[in-house]
Symmetry: C2
Subunit: 223 residues, 2 copies
């Protein structure tokens, strides 16, 4: 039981979801949690700001130790609970290297998805340009092609022959891509990876509740 | 000796520098290395692309294991050489948590510095707006104030009482801020942290050679 942990989260946010998956994998159930609404602005509420002054979700703490950055939370949980639940850092140097390399490349992937999805939210109306929108789309296509190559002949996991932090961290990003209309046909290796992992217990149990009705808006359908 | 490692790097790049610091701290000297010029476009050269298809520096490999993402390289080196050189992950859970949390918050800091420094390089001429420039500056000021608060009463290290991966990764970002004209007066805690660490052997030995003539352009002087 993980009663000394608290997670404030939002549905469908890859950063929140990866912390939930890591907690399940490390067998840390029973933590305090609260689902908050981005739409209602609850990520800027007092209860969030007290843990995360940046006003972002996840807001996560273990006792008095605060880990709001999702990558930080995942690495911390593996570091502090090495022998509990599933080991999430592979054994061999090659797999360890691949795991870290992919984890950090995925930040570029997530950023490029965000550049397309949130353009109108990030850029004030008077500063918007069709040329930027187009460039962002091309950037995401190139990035997705790179990952499609990485997943050629994939065994089902991103680093080595077992589930690792690379999967904990990156699976939600690919899921987010498809949820927002990304094409399974143009990225068959990514889609195959997605399908292989989507029913894993830690993932299925934490599936974003707002996604239960199927795909969201098809914003990424041209990518 | 680390003859099975190769680092292609550029002077003054915080991502390159942190890998050099990590190598020194882990007592991994004697690696193959080559200083390349961003100005001459050498980061897009064949020798870089063979290791790093993204055409970015650092390009780093250990044997056949490729770690081009600087955070990945640092975490990998600590993971694979735990008992060699200085231990870069603290002992206690509180310090471990603080280390990871700060490391990932620093990505926001680095991004906000980049938003200001590289605006004209990133944004095509016809898409530039003074309002965006101003917003980026305000964003960096707010971020720096946050770090100024974090470093209130700092013992000299970012996480706990000893040098850790947080310092390896974040020191070069603060150094970069000051090198580009950032104010030591407005951020005295950050400046004190910078001065405490700048003569540490691993840092001094790897100081960017192009910085030896003093500060660069004062682009960040208003921040």
């Amino acid at each position: 039981m993980a009663k000394d942990m608290t997670l404030l989260w939002g549905s469908g946010s890859p950063p929140c979801w990866r912390v939930q998956i890591a907690l399940e994998e490390k067998n840390l159930q029973g933590y305090n949690q609260k689902l908050l609404s981005f739409e209602k602005g609850e990520h800027k509420s007092k209860q969030v700001m007290e843990i995360n002054p940046r006003g972002q979700l996840p807001a996560f703490k273990h006792g008095n130790i605060i880990l709001n950055e999702s990558y930080a939370a995942c690495l911390y949980l593996e570091n502090q609970f090495k022998s509990q639940g599933n080991q999430l850092i592979p054994e061999g140097a090659a797999d360890v290297g691949m795991m870290y390399q992919r984890i950090f490349e995925a930040q570029t992937l997530a950023q490029k998805i965000g550049d397309v999805l949130y353009y109108n939210w990030k850029v004030p109306e008077g500063e918007r340009h069709d040329s930027a929108v187009q460039r962002n789309k091309e950037g995401l296509k190139a990035e997705m092609k790179m990952w499609e190559g990485y997943l050629q002949g994939c065994s089902g996991f991103l680093a080595g022959k077992s589930f690792s932090l690379a999967d904990v961290i990156i699976f939600p990003v690919f899921a987010y891509f498809f949820q927002n209309g990304g094409s399974e046909e143009r990225y068959p290796n990514v889609a195959a990876y997605f399908r292989k992992l989507k029913d894993r217990p830690s993932i299925k149990k934490t599936w974003p509740p707002t996604w239960s009705d199927g795909r969201g808006q098809e914003v990424l359908k041209d990518i």
